[in-house]
Symmetry: D2
Subunit: 239 residues, 4 copies
């Protein structure tokens, strides 16, 4: 089981506030937490060759974690297509926070993925609405974050296959903040928190959710189904 | 198309605050609003014979609206079974507010239907999360109620077939406040607002949602499917 | 309420077998049946200017019906984007048969939309699995078609919001043949039957399903939600 | 992780055909296969004291497997209530074949759970419709059973949370034969095959599905949520 944590890695280079919170980058913080849970983890970032997502890397990745924000348009369409194809083949995908607007997520959803937002450092509570779900393993009734960016409904996504968390925000908004989807052989989890100017990915409960999600999204032993022209009718009847 | 609005009708008789808000009872307020939309509407209450739900009434009812709170246990099991059977046959059912704990709703859900609650007259916002849904026809992005009882997650229901509204409460809670279900040939809508000490059912937007829901839940032209022993295999092959 | 029936309209021009079954084109047959149900219906085809889907036509269309097969790649990306945008705005979309592989449907689904197929003129039965659904209004327990092309699982689609019909085929396959989805403000129905060499769209029950689906998919009174930067926190707290 | 396999265990005592196929009972066959996968497994049967489901047994059971057919009504309501309560608390439940009509399943579903059936020893194919689902781990595109009882739609269940398998039958019927549900903290899987007169539970693929399902349905580290009167509004605001 190999995890790749992908990060745009731009805010950390430009904004001292962000690099102070995440001296090893957002990807570094997430990868370190996953390593502590015993996972084999690599990282990849936008400005590496092929954004760090060569065929070799993608093919060995069982679950890909994605964080992006200000440079979605710089991600090459060819890489986006390969990531989407790998999800269809069974690779898990964890999309974090502003990754809702990534090309990869939008392509897999078929909607605009737009939402309301406000940067006011307000309180967020992520309520567990599916207490049977393995992604909530070991998590209490809600996770409280003292300061986060607000994301509010309407969130323009397909109705999730499973709604796991719902967020409350101080300013009057709610949000479907933990959503699962299945596309082809692949499992996808969108998880809302993680604005770059707050230490959200150092929060133990947030780390736990991401770790649970990685486990949940891991591929099973299964090839892509066979599509196209099927066995002739006659041969079936003769059986 | 005939609508029956069922109300426990106890708070109105005991509590002057409630009878002042609802001089014709909660059922009267809801029925009057539905009549203004052109529906043929009757009412029924707990203390009537058979709770007002004789076979004749149930058989002609296309959509039943249900409000109950302090006397769920006084509803006879025989009537509950008949209501459930009618839902399976195609009768629509709109369950309001504290009706979440009615025998009828619990029996149709298969869960405890429990939740968190607080009576503090706090602000509620019901956000539309499914903007394509006919139950939200003509409603803005959210409905704001200045004072309501809080209902909070975890709400112990099956994952709704469709999640239409999500509530925000001043005190820090969220709630799945507009949920659809299908049971047999029948359509069910649970709608959260309507504590007896607030004038919620006089609110034009709340009335609109209930009216939309009645339309959505109305039966189609269809008998119950045939169950049991099927046509023999031979006769099918001979066709 | 204005319906536009879009057809690729190529088989009818090349294959006498098809033009004999559909002398007015597949679009003509579908449009005529919808007109008999009282709808205001226009048609549009691939080889017309802008594929017959000018801004004017799209903007006045409440529900778009789509049939395509051998020329999906000839549909311009610009028109595809406009159709998708209109669905997000609330236009209903009924995708028929081989339209599963249209650019429009694939873009809205986020999957390959691939499937198994066999042209052997075998028997199909479409079983109603959601007897409460308005799309099944007036339809019996199943629709039987004596000859159809087989489409078999795995059908590479997102799990439908609602599964309405499931098909049985003589040769041993099953298929999710009536599926609803919601994307933005728009409602989508995929309906399987309708290979060009069989008179499927002359079948009264198939016509009834399409007519029911058009009604179900019609837009409600609602603007696109407001996305982007929300009201400041301070102004909310002052309220 | 402790599994309990519950079986009515009546056919095996009365019908030599059945006891020949299942000399250790249906429960024995299922339990043996689960033991081979390394699970700690016990069994319980109807005619034992408390049907073998004492508080002690239920409290230590992580996943309960249920097979019943001709004696559903003999299962005591008190035990049914305890099983349902344990599911709400997080115990997994695998309901097999004619268990669709068990009191436990019906109570958890809120529907009649009725269906069409035919005993004609016909061929069944269970197609995988969700190739990402862990319950299908290691299973091919479909499982073929040469002889089974037919169960056909309409199957009167709530729309499954996840539809995993769909069955095809020789005689013209289809069936939603692998369905997941969540009730409270518990996960439920209904799996269709297993008529007592066929050696279905000796089939390696069927055993694999049941083993996968047990793993999928296992409880997570989570208490029942707290329900009832919530923290006062004032105390929240003071925080």
């Amino acid at each position: 089981m190999h995890i790749t944590v992908w990060n745009e890695y731009r805010h950390e280079k430009k904004n001292p506030l962000v690099s102070e919170i995440y001296p090893e980058g957002i990807h570094g913080a997430i990868a370190n937490a996953l390593k502590e849970d015993g996972y084999d983890v690599g990282t990849a970032t936008l400005d590496e060759e092929l954004h760090g997502l060569s065929d070799e890397v993608l093919n060995k990745t069982d679950v890909l974690v994605w964080w992006g924000h200000i440079a979605h348009e710089e991600v090459s369409d060819a890489i986006v297509d390969k990531v989407v194809e790998r999800v269809w083949e069974g690779m898990g995908l964890i999309v974090l926070h502003s990754g809702h607007f990534s090309k990869v997520f939008k392509k897999l959803m078929g909607t605009s993925c737009d939402l309301k937002w406000r940067e006011a450092g307000e309180k967020e509570r992520l309520w567990v609405v599916d207490p049977s779900h393995p992604i909530t393993n070991g998590i209490g009734e809600y996770i409280e974050l003292q300061q986060e960016e607000m994301y509010g409904e309407h969130f323009d996504i397909p109705a999730p296959d499973e709604l796991v968390f719902m967020s409350w925000f101080e300013g009057g908004e709610v949000f479907r903040s933990g959503c699962t989807y299945r596309r082809g052989n692949g499992k996808i989890f969108y998880f809302r928190p993680g604005h770059e100017t707050y230490p959200t990915y150092h929060n133990k409960e947030i780390q736990r959710v991401i770790s649970n999600a990685v486990k949940w999204a891991s591929p099973i032993d299964r090839k892509r189904p066979v599509y196209g022209n099927a066995q002739p009718l006659e041969s079936i009847k003769e059986k």
